[in-house]
């Protein structure tokens, strides 16, 4: 039985992840509607939740078409890469004290590695489509995701230094008293911004900027292959939200003053929900920057901030060690 548990849990998370991403497509549209003074999909089923099934049926019955000028093998492989990479990322997320698939001592690095793998999906998708707009989208995503990966990794160094471990469980345990969102506020800001850029969501969706590049890297994709890209994007959104909660908002711990009178999984999912709402708010409020603005923001603002954060965190930790 105990050998079966991780397998069952993995299956649950797999199905839960896909279902969550599907529901998220509907939820995001409804929430955007709230903030833009309209309703969003509200016709099918209670509150319009049936829209999820309708969209799914529609996408499933679309012609599974590969353009004759595309690189067939890579074209088909690209959308699966992002879903696989994001799903793998969920393996190390500690949902509750005993609810995680695996607790590795390099959990954080594993997560960073998996999000880096997702770049390949966008890149190969843009390249294999053999289409100008797709290629431009792929180029943009390569530059954007590779450079924001730098700050994404660096912004977490502060958390790792304070914990002294790469294990996500250790990081959550270290936040039992005080969450890292106070001491690592700079790291949090940089991680959120880098996370949006990494999951190429609005306002940083330049790889698929529809006003300039029709649909960017997935211009040639349709049907289920397109749906896989979308699934990967929403999985990425959930994964980033899970990581923000784990690393900066105390994971499964309840809020500091209120305490933990509810199950840990509830606190975790509630916090993830709030972060997802925040991401949707960003989408509703912030316009897309120009590409050079994105790049200069990254290298001229984000990189110095993270370096200063690492410097100050290290200095404070050394000073506290000296005092103690």
């Amino acid at each position: 039985m105990s050998e079966l548990m991780p397998v069952l849990l993995a299956l649950t998370i797999l199905i839960g992840g896909v279902a969550g991403a599907a529901v998220l497509t509907w939820f995001e549209r409804r929430l955007l509607g709230v903030w833009q003074d309209r309703y969003g999909p509200n016709r099918l089923g209670p509150l319009g939740i049936g829209q999820v099934a309708a969209d799914m049926i529609k996408l499933l019955f679309k012609d599974d078409w590969v353009p004759p000028f595309a690189d067939r093998l890579v074209f088909i492989f690209a959308p699966t890469a992002i879903v696989v990479a994001m799903m793998m990322g969920f393996a190390v997320v500690p949902f509750a004290p005993d609810m995680m698939i695996i607790d590795v001592n390099i959990g954080l690095l594993f997560f960073l590695g998996m999000t880096s793998l997702a770049v390949y999906s966008v890149l190969l998708g843009g390249l294999a489509s053999n289409n100008k707009y797709a290629l431009l989208g792929g180029l943009r995503s390569a530059a954007q995701m590779v450079s924001y990966e730098v700050f994404m990794g660096l912004s977490l160094i502060g958390v790792v230094m304070m914990t002294g471990s790469f294990s996500l469980v250790d990081i959550v345990e270290a936040q039992t008293d005080v969450w890292f969102c106070f001491s690592q506020i700079l790291g949090l800001i940089v991680f959120i911004i880098a996370g949006i850029a990494e999951s190429h969501r609005l306002p940083f969706d330049l790889p698929e900027a529809e006003h300039e590049l029709t649909a960017g890297f997935h211009t040639e994709y349709g049907g289920m292959k397109f749906a896989m890209f979308m699934l990967g994007e929403y999985l990425g959104l959930m994964l980033i939200s899970c990581m923000i909660v784990t690393l900066f908002f105390g994971g499964w711990h309840g809020p500091m003053l209120i305490g933990e009178w509810l199950p840990p999984f509830f606190w975790f999912s509630f916090k993830v929900f709030v972060i997802i709402c925040f991401f949707v708010l960003l989408r509703a409020a912030i316009p897309r920057p120009r590409y050079d603005q994105l790049m200069s923001l990254g290298w001229k603002v984000m990189l110095p901030i993270t370096l200063v954060n690492i410097l100050v965190t290290g200095a404070v930790l050394l000073w506290m060690e000296g005092v103690a």
Partner: protein, 171 residues
């Protein structure tokens, strides 16, 4: 940076504002009386057709969706033998209503005229004619126009002066 945060706050405040959407099939939007929708042909207060088949509406129509043919009644008044509007072409611009000298053609606040068969979008006179007077309840063209009909001679219409005798020198 500050403006981005302010924008986010302003958007967040919309959580508590009501949606502007009108849930159309269940909830009808308000259409003003002068809304430009389905075209009708009205009658004068006596119940006669107002249209005098002058062809101005057909001439002014930018998409050429109006077709009609003039005919003369026994009392000398004009009327359209047939009057046809192809609503699959009509753009509801209202220029026919502006051009009409007799207030016969009028646009109404009704837009629900979908059909499965395009042929059904072609409205003949029997479909266009209504029993009412539309937006101008008291107007009757033949009572104010100087045209001679069986019931009145030139100069006998309302507010009309006697015709001038151009052959005479007297005032």
């Amino acid at each position: 940076m500050l403006s981005e945060l302010r924008t986010m706050w302003e958007v967040l405040k919309h959580t508590f504002t009501k949606a502007e959407t009108v849930q159309y099939p269940e909830e009808m939007p308000y259409l003003a009386p002068r809304y430009r929708g389905r075209i009708v042909l009205t009658r004068d207060p006596d119940g006669e057709e107002r249209c005098v088949a002058c062809n101005l509406c057909a001439a002014v129509c930018p998409v050429d969706c109006i077709a009609l043919q003039k005919d003369t009644r026994e009392d000398g008044t004009w009327y359209p033998e047939f009057f046809r509007i192809n609503f699959s072409r009509c753009i509801m611009c209202g220029m026919c209503e502006e051009a009409c000298p007799t207030y016969a053609i009028q646009l109404t606040p009704d837009f629900e005229m979908c059909e499965y068969d395009r042929q059904n979008m072609v409205y003949e006179k029997e479909h266009l004619l209504i029993d009412g007077v539309g937006k101008y309840p008291d107007y009757n063209f033949y009572r104010v126009s100087g045209m001679k009909t069986a019931t009145k001679d030139k100069g006998e219409a309302l507010n009309e002066a006697r015709p001038i005798d151009t052959k005479s020198l007297l005032p």
